[in-house]
Amino acid sequence: MKKLEPGMAYDTNKLNKVFAFLSILFLMIVVWVFLDDYIRPWKAVQIEAIKIKQEQLKKKFEIAEEDINKEKLESLKKELAQAKKGLNDKRAEINKVEKEIFKLQKFLKEETITSGILNSKVSATNFKYEQAQLHHEPEKAQKYYSMLTDYKKGFAESKDRMKGYQAKEKNLKRKVNDLRSEVIEVQKEINKLTGTRDLVAKALKQTEMGPIFAIRNAPFVDYLDPTLKIEQVVIESITDDRYFQQVPKVDRCMTCHTFIDQPGFEDQANPHKTHPNLDLMVGRDSPHPMKETGCTTCHGGEGHRVNDLGSTAHTPQNEEQRKEWVEKYNYHPPHRVAQPMLKLQHTEASCVKCHQGVEFIPGATVLNEGRQNIEKYGCYGCHKIPEFENKRKPGPSLEKIASKVSKEFFKNWVWDPKSFNPHAMMPRFFEQSNNNSKEHPEYAKKNVAEVNAIAEFIWEKSKPYRPFKKYEGGDIDNGKSLVTSVGCMGCHGVQGAEEMSEKVGSYAGPFLYGTGSKVDPDWLVSWLKKPDHYQEDTIMPSFRLTDKEASDIAAYLLSLKNEKFEKFEFAPLDKELRDEILVTYFSAFDTQAGAKAKLAKMSDRERTLELGYRSVGKYGCYSCHNIDGFEGRGPIGPDLTEEGTKPLTQFGFGIQHDVEHSRDGWITAHLKNPRRWDIGIDKPFKDITRMPNFELTDREAYTMTVAVLGNTSEKVPLAGVKRLDSNEKIVAQGMQVINKYNCVGCHQIDGERGDILAMYEDDINEGPPRLVGEGHRVQFDWFHYFLDNVYPIRPWLTVRMPSFNLTDQERNSIVSMFQHKAKVKTLVDRSEVVNWAPGEREAALQMWDELACATCHSAGFDAETEPSAPNLYFARRRLRPSWIKKWLAGPDKILPGTLMPSFWMDGEPASEVLDGDTDRQLDAMVKLMYEFGTEKLPTKDTKFWSKQ
């Protein structure tokens, strides 16, 4: 061991060595810090994007290069050389003029100074003058005034001189330009020829990744002006919730999704793909531009993160994609993220965040379908769902049920609706995975007791009803043809026409299946004749059936039997079990002994009714059906208003391992079999899951999941939501009525729905009229009248417009909806006399003949032919003149496939009259239509309208 200097604990050399070692380690770690900070995954993505762009531009460049007319370019270049040579001859002249311009600069500058000085003097003196005036110093004011006048004069002169110099300069410059004009012109031509290529070349140059690119993006200096950088949009009007604070949304998705808003990259793989729907989303001119709407607003996820696929909360569409991502991007599912991204197929859920108060959201097909399904299955009966509040109960009223079906039918039906009617929308409560008689025989027996008690209770409460008509038999075949032709199928599916029913897919009314085994014949006839006789608030309209028609339809419906079902015998009430269940109810707030004592005080009937009452409450029958004694009770199911943001931990997955552990996974699984969560879990009878099974298809469950996922606690501020303007509000209101009465079951309204039209694929004109711009077509007072007093307009149609039981308010809503939808709200003055121009009437009549209008519109004109077009005598009362004109000018454009010929196709005149002027011809015809209406409607006896 070396001897140390006195006073030294360590050898200095050793200290130096340790110091050197640690310093080098330190230095290396600093380098690591630099690299760690510098290498970010999104940079690689952006470099990839630049390469893609480069490739694309290279191709574009080649195309542009090819497009250039080489010969022309050569000749132009030669011309240019020629012109430049010519310029040399003029060089002396040009130089002379340019020298003059240069000399002029001195005067210009000098004058600028002079006028500047004078201008400042004018302003300053003006202020002094005004101050003197203000302080009432007339002498001073006078002095300043004269000064001001002088300065102003000088200033004006100076300005004038300036203008003179400027004009001179302009002249001289023009001279130079004239001298050079040849060169300039040729140069312009060349530029025009090569412009596109040069521009592409410039763009191409920008994608170069040369030394400057390297410097700009080098570590440390990349703060100066980097080309690789995090891109973001900040959206003030859409916020994220951060501890009760609403903070503007920040989306940085475009950092990696580089071309998301640029067309031309549709074929690229993600993340470099263009958004697939630029016209509707993201595009600069779309209704949802990226800068205003952002990305996570719709897709969800962590928009402000950029580090990798996982932290940004990307969610794969399916298992396949998940595996792909794991392989490609080392994907790990988002962890500790409140709202992961919606799966691609669920994106439409987000529409409702901003689009509220409307029944249909244009473009959101899955969501609309899901909502339609919610409407169809009446989910809103038991659950509070936004947009479905205050809807009528989805099931029929049970207040007079005793007169409609038998008690035995009722019990069997409640037990298993689908065994009676495979199309039944009433869900199944019993024989489910948590209460079937095989695995849970005791529960099933108790269920039987409950159903018995419910029936007793309902029958006890049922009010008497006496059908006003007696069924006396009818023609079954005619009945069937009536059911399929008058329009029943707009709302009902019909047994015996299953194929057609499926095509139409209507759901507003029950599928008519086995009706004969279900209802009382007298009740049925009465119901068909006058539905509101039995139930005041029914949406079933009257088809104005004759007694014969009603009887025939009833005959057909009664012929539909479900014999197997008829034979079912429902087990009788097990009183012991009934009492046992009741004791469980009573003991909730009491001891067993107390409960039993309470029970003992009740009579047998009382006990049954008590259980019935309790069971109706337990299963929530009242949520879908009107039941006496349950008015005003709240819905039985959980509130779904914020289901889309309900924390995942609050979803009970039970021991269901095959269900995906996500919000949408749970909801879909739940919709498909709500009782699955009880499987393998020991629950007492009173606690087992009660949500019934709707036996949904995958598609239905999927679309409904989308509709439910959209209901979130995220509150988009008013500035961000789609606020309906006064027009749209009225339309939305009207659409609610339209949906309530299922008008869209028959009528296609501006391209939406019209389910029944599926039956008329062969000739769409045989189906209910499509309503396009209906508010423009008809006059609104007529419309009002018509809705209250329906009469046939198209005599050739067998399908009928029924008479609805509309309130004034509803009728108003419908009429104003159409008006506001078409943005035509004016009243047509029908008192006006048709005012013919000279010769116009004759021309109109001539066209009437030439175009043979009476062939189809024969009513009132031609007794020989059956009318195959509306009666024109109604036109004056019904149609707007401006619409008639539009219609005549191009019926095909309004109703594609209409039988009405386009006589004035593409603005061509239909005749030679009125100088062959299309516009005047159309006007004349409109006037003619209006003149028809002033005459009394001819009957078969009166003379036809004459042309005098």
Partner: protein, 260 residues
């Protein structure tokens, strides 16, 4: 007599003795002990030149500056309890300080104290120059003092923004625009237009010194936060450190100056 007896009794307790390890400072030994044994007083010499305690000589401006610095630290820390440096809240919090927060003059003490500190610092320097006290061996300490003076101005300047009213943002805007004109480093300064290669702008409003100061192109919320941190943490730490150096050097350079 009784009172004196009581005082003596207190002095004799173990508690007192544990804190003050000497008798009353009425003799040389105790006078030395009271200064040397106290962490707060031990920066002082035990004995000093008479001129050092003469107001006519020192004006006490340095001492006052330090006192105001301490007062500002205390009042500043207290203000921080009620002040949030965000665009939403800053102004409202200032209003709260004057409207309903207890001890409604806290902000006034802080603000006027800040102005007073600028004044006392200037006057301290003025006095030091007048008595030639920067001369050897105190050259280095004068330099430290000049830096402290600049930091004092910066402290005051950074604090000026925090009320987040018109006075604040426009005063800082005027001040920060000077940074814009720094040669080669500010985008409005001489030479800035030369620092570019094609599209690559090396000195622009997005990367110059003003941007660094404001964390933005204009006085906005990031600037507020940045100024808050500078004002409350960064500059005070530097100032505190330099004050320690300054005081230490006063002692080491032979105390308050006096004729040789």
């Amino acid at each position: 007599m009784a009172a004196k007896g009581l005082a003596d009794k207190v002095r004799e307790t173990q508690v007192w003795k544990s804190i003050f390890r000497h008798g009353p400072p009425d003799n040389a030994r105790n006078r030395a002990a009271v200064v040397a044994g106290n962490v707060f007083l031990h920066l002082h010499p035990i004995k000093l030149k008479k001129s050092g305690v003469q107001l006519g000589y020192t004006w006490c401006m340095g001492g006052l500056t330090f006192f105001i610095f301490l007062a500002l630290t205390v009042s500043g820390v207290l203000l921080m309890f009620y002040y949030r440096p965000t665009a939403e809240y800053a102004f409202n919090d200032i209003v709260a300080l004057r409207e309903h927060v207890p001890l409604g003059i806290m902000r006034e003490i802080h603000r006027w104290g800040a102005h007073a500190m600028v004044i006392t610092t200037w006057l301290h320097m003025f006095r030091v120059f007048m008595t030639g006290s920067y001369k050897p061996p105190r050259e280095f300490n004068w330099g430290v003092g000049v830096i402290l003076l600049v930091l004092t101005l910066l402290l005051s300047f950074t604090g000026y923004l925090l009320p987040w009213d018109q006075l604040a943002i426009w005063a800082i805007t005027v001040g920060a625009n000077m940074a814009k004109a720094t040669p080669f480093l500010g985008h409005g300064g001489p030479g800035a237009s030369l620092a570019r290669i094609g599209d690559f702008v090396m000195v622009s409003d997005k990367n110059d010194v003003r941007f660094q100061l404001l964390a933005g192109r204009f006085v906005g919320e990031p600037a507020l936060l940045r100024f808050y941190i500078l004002h409350c943490v960064f500059i005070p730490l530097v100032v505190g450190t330099l004050i320690a150096v300054h005081f230490w050097r006063v002692r080491k350079d032979g105390g308050i100056s006096a004729p040789l």
